[in-house]
């Protein structure tokens, strides 16, 4: 006879924090939600790199507000993870000590202001493809956090695209900057969906549990099909000679990212892995005295 948990999953309904759930389901969720939260927090850095240099007051407002939203997303997701019995401090420590991962895309550097737009368009776009199905994920608090996050991510993506569109209408130097940025981020964006299905051992179990709703390759295909017309409207070329419409499949054929590079970055050898973690650790260490002061003051106020 199927357990209550299995019946709930079979009916496509939500599991809530106090419901019974298998330990492995809980562990998988903690890992996935924490990794997602960490990605928001580490993801503040590559775009944060350009806040001080944003080239107009309006762009500075948009960028600072966006990076602030990422901190907010990190907060909701840590709260969702906390409903599974882990604390934000524990999770942050797992991030700082490298025991939990974050999205590898943030281990790539941002080298020009166009990267702010490209991250909005391609990276947030890929994130949305990954995340929209998660609004229907089987764990209630995670799904509800994702609904709010997806709305804001869509908004960020539009802002990124609008920046690129504006730059494409500017000078030749700006158009070249946009193309160079798209050339650099296209393949890492495709890698965001994870390795090909044949090399993704966890996918089947996560799909059976309703945590994941689509395979990596399905989502990657969807992203490519959505992005091609947008690239055309923007006037940029996607750097893949094998990218072509396949009438028979009703979808685009496209080349494979360099999976060797992907694994190098996942294993910690990416261009910015060490830098991103060092930045997070430094912020944590330099803030320690402030957090201690807040605890001491709170304890003192209780006595008074």
């Amino acid at each position: 006879m199927a357990s209550v948990f299995e019946q709930t999953i079979a009916r496509n309904e939500r599991i809530e924090p106090r419901d019974e759930m298998p330990d492995a389901y809980r562990a998988t969720l903690v890992r996935q939600i924490a990794q997602h939260a960490h990605s928001e927090i580490i993801g503040m850095q590559p775009e944060g790199n350009w806040i001080s240099r944003a080239p107009s007051l309006r762009r500075k407002l948009v960028l600072l507000a966006k990076v602030q939203d990422e901190a907010g997303h990190g907060l909701y997701l840590y709260s969702a993870a906390e409903t599974l019995g882990v604390s934000r401090d524990e999770l942050d420590e797992m991030l700082r000590t490298g025991r939990q991962k974050y999205s590898s895309i943030f281990n790539y550097p941002t080298l020009t202001y166009a990267d702010v737009g490209t991250i909005g368009w391609l990276v947030d776009g890929a994130a949305i493809c990954n995340q929209v199905p998660l609004c229907r994920t089987s764990y209630g608090p995670y799904g509800r956090a994702m609904i709010r996050i997806c709305k804001e991510e869509s908004f960020h993506q539009r802002q990124g695209y609008e920046l690129l569109m504006t730059m494409m209408g500017g000078t030749d130097a700006q158009r070249a900057m946009v193309q160079e940025s798209v050339d650099r981020f296209w393949w890492p964006a495709l890698m965001m969906f994870g390795p090909p299905d044949d090399d993704s051992p966890n996918t089947a179990q996560s799909m059976a549990w309703g945590i994941k709703r689509n395979t990596n390759d399905e989502l990657r295909q969807k992203f490519v099909d959505m992005t091609v017309p947008q690239a055309k409207a923007l006037g940029v070329t996607l750097p893949d000679p094998d990218l072509v419409w396949n009438e028979e499949r009703g979808a685009h054929d496209f080349g494979q990212p360099d999976w060797e590079e992907f694994w190098q970055v996942v294993k910690g050898n990416g261009p910015c892995n060490a830098q991103r973690l060092a930045h997070r650790r430094r912020a944590h260490d330099e803030g320690a005295w402030v957090r201690e002061a807040a605890s001491a003051y709170a304890a003192r106020s209780q006595h008074d």
């Binding site: 309904e13 939500r14 007051l57 309006r58 990076v67 901190a71 509800r144 609008e162 000078t171």
Partner: protein, 314 residues
């Protein structure tokens, strides 16, 4: 268990369509589109008997204060002691940046000769020309806002001093004869009240927290204190604007500001520092375009992309 208030299918399709709708040209971008005048819809007529040059310089000085401090506070993004403070500091920086944008737009509108001349056909709007194409000696901000923060205590002390000062001024600026300054002040009073509250809470927390936090707070207060008197000088820019009924002479509101600050110091059990004010150079201070070494270095970074593309569209 399902949450009956959420229609899962709608959520999915809504986001699919939001993505596909990228190329839709709508007017709902946050902070407007690039070509939108930040003062759109506001009556920007300068009253007949007001000297536009006086109004322009005054608005520019207030805008520069906000611009430079916002830049410094935004340096905390992704580096704050906790996520909640990262978000709060970004809020403060965003509010000040919004004030700067409106005030610089006001300055350029009142006196177009203030904005640096850019190549013919450059799409750079006047408020950005002011922010990105002036050199340090052309900025009129007070010197308090220029240095980089050494630690979180510096941020707390500076936001406290700045907001105590500015809020006193802005509570009177709401009665400005210039409709734009009055509107900016009305919005800003709420923002500055929040900034002051945030900083005052942290000021007390750090003062009464641990030995280390108290030591750091006192050190930060000593670093900032020499720049406090400059905020109250009856500078000709402020005095002229005050005489015309568009601005506030800060020396007239010092007393009430000191009372507010004394209440915070008393709650924190911190003594008023006994250090003299930072000297002027041949009588010149921030409002005269005489700054600390930190400002030109900060501007070099802030302006680098904009200056590399003087005809660029952003």
């Amino acid at each position: 268990m399902t949450d009956p208030t959420i229609d899962l299918h709608d959520v999915d399709s809504e986001h699919d369509s939001a993505y596909a709708g990228l190329q839709v040209n709508d007017s709902h971008w946050a902070f407007g589109t690039s070509f939108e005048d930040p003062l759109a819809g506001v009556d920007t007529t300068v009253p007949d008997d007001v000297d536009a040059a006086v109004l322009g310089r005054y608005a520019m000085a207030l805008g520069d204060d906000a611009l430079v401090l916002s830049q410094r506070i935004s340096e905390w993004c992704s580096r704050a002691p906790d996520l909640e403070d990262d978000i709060a500091l970004a809020n403060v920086a965003l509010d000040l940046l919004g004030q700067a944008r409106l005030l610089l737009a006001r300055a350029a509108k009142a006196d177009p000769s203030l904005a640096p001349v850019l190549p013919e056909g450059s799409p750079v709007p006047p408020e950005d020309a002011l922010a990105y194409f002036r050199d340090a000696h052309e900025l009129l901000n007070v010197r308090l806002v220029e240095a980089a923060d050494e630690d979180f205590a510096d941020a707390v002390v500076r936001i406290l001093l700045f907001s105590v000062w500015r809020l006193e001024v802005w509570q009177r600026l709401v009665a400005s004869r210039d409709a734009v300054l009055a509107a900016v002040a009305a919005k800003g009073v709420k923002e500055l009240t929040y900034h002051r509250d945030y900083a005052a809470r942290w000021f007390v927390t750090l003062a009464l927290g641990t030995t280390e936090s108290r030591g750091r707070l006192e050190a930060a207060l000593l670093r900032a204190w020499p720049l406090w008197p400059e905020l109250w000088a009856a500078h000709p820019i402020d005095v002229a604007a005050s005489r015309q009924g568009v601005g506030v002479d800060p020396s007239t509101v010092r007393e009430s500001a000191e009372e507010v600050l004394d209440r915070v110091l008393a709650t924190a059990e911190v003594a008023r520092p006994e250090v003299p004010g930072l000297a002027a150079v041949a009588g010149r201070t921030g409002r005269d375009g005489l700054h600390t070494e930190a400002l030109s270095r900060m501007l070099a970074e802030m302006q680098s992309v904009a200056r590399a593309h003087p005809e660029g569209a952003w």
